[in-house]
């Protein structure tokens, strides 16, 4: 499932959290700055390498809130495509049985 990974532009990510902060569904409004950073970091890791630990359960729950609507893309200052990233992450979680 590495198809599309290059197109996401993960190497440009500055882990600012603007993608989740600007979610049009307001799904992540309770997270503070460092939590946003941790979430981006974990989703990026899952996107790259899949689910690795029990700790990812919390991240998976958070990611389930994402409907891939796509409004977050335009807020990324470093031209990462958060929707595609989340889509790949969700796909990897699904492939691995959502562990």
């Amino acid at each position: 499932m590495n198809i599309g990974l290059e197109a996401v532009g993960l190497e440009g990510c500055i882990y600012c959290g603007a993608c989740f902060r600007n979610c049009s569904l307001n799904a992540y409004s309770e997270l503070d700055g460092l939590e946003l950073k941790s979430l981006v970091s974990a989703v990026t890791r899952i996107t790259r390498r899949g689910v690795r630990s029990e700790k990812d359960k919390a991240i998976i729950e958070l990611l389930e809130r994402c409907t891939l609507q796509g409004d977050c893309d335009k807020f990324c200052p470093s031209l990462v495509q958060p929707v595609l990233r989340n889509k790949i992450a969700k796909s990897k979680i699904s492939e691995e049985g959502g562990k």
Binding site: I14, K37, P77, S78
Partner: protein, 348 residues
Amino acid sequence: MTDYTDLKREVWDTDMCSGCGACVGSCPLEALHFRGDDNPVFDGLCSKCSTCYSVCPRTERDAAVKVSRAPENASSIGSYKGRYFARSSDFQIIKRAQGYGVVTSVLKHILDEGVVDAAFVVTSDLFMNTRPMIARDFSDVKKSARVKYIWTPVLSKLREAVLDESVESIAVVGVPCVMQALEMLDQSKLGLYKKKIKLRIGLFCWEIFRHILISEMIHKELQLDIDPRRIWMFDIKKGKLVVELMDSTEYFIPLGTASRYARSGCNFCVDFTSEWSDISVGNAGAPKDFLTVVTRTGLGEGIIQDMIGGGKLVTGEFDESVFALAEVVNKKKKQRIKNFASPVKEKD
């Protein structure tokens, strides 16, 4: 990992902040703001992404870069492709704008020709309260035509501009610290900003004056009480700050005196001719009725050549008086470089 607290400690609290607004205008979580104070304030969330720190031209890390760069340029006005004495060929522009209409004409040209589809400029109200604005056509540009020398955190609205999906390419007009910050943005990972900011038009600048001190400066130094609404514009000519009123009356304040009303952060700037721009423009070095125009990149040179070829700019015979400017710049640079040795002590 750096964040706004590092910026606060290194730049804001030491009065080194140039007020360019880059940190405010690039914070992805929009947590930095100017609220009438000299320095930005933090109010919001911080994810420690380091963006604010990485775009600041005054941090310890970057100050070292700028200072180390200075000696190699000490005998010049920075690298350039071309040098001109120029003015607008459009009398209506000259009449309305400042500095013989060069910048206004360049903005008109690049918007008309589609080089960019928006320009980031500064406008003001009748009380000379300035603010950044996005100009999309010449009628917008005209609103910015005579605003100069009053501090405006130009880049503080930059995020708004780059997030505007109707804007694909932007030109930014600003003083040297603004150009330095744009260079820092260009070196950062902020691809969205790099993609959209296409042209930098830099202004010559010795220092920038704080709005709050304008009336105080005029009252104290000129012994006058002038309603700001009567001020047509500020200009700098032959070592003096010129206050020109609507009725064309001019008052002069020696720059040495006027400097007391400048932003303290200006003392830490060693760039007076916008060396990090594509095109830089200023009075210094120019003969009567012209401005000095320095092109520094192929893009900038191409635009100026197009304008000269198309009769939009009139050029004067170039002489070497611009070297006199280089000497002045050199001397000033050396003075300012000393300020970097102990910035906190300098503040005292």
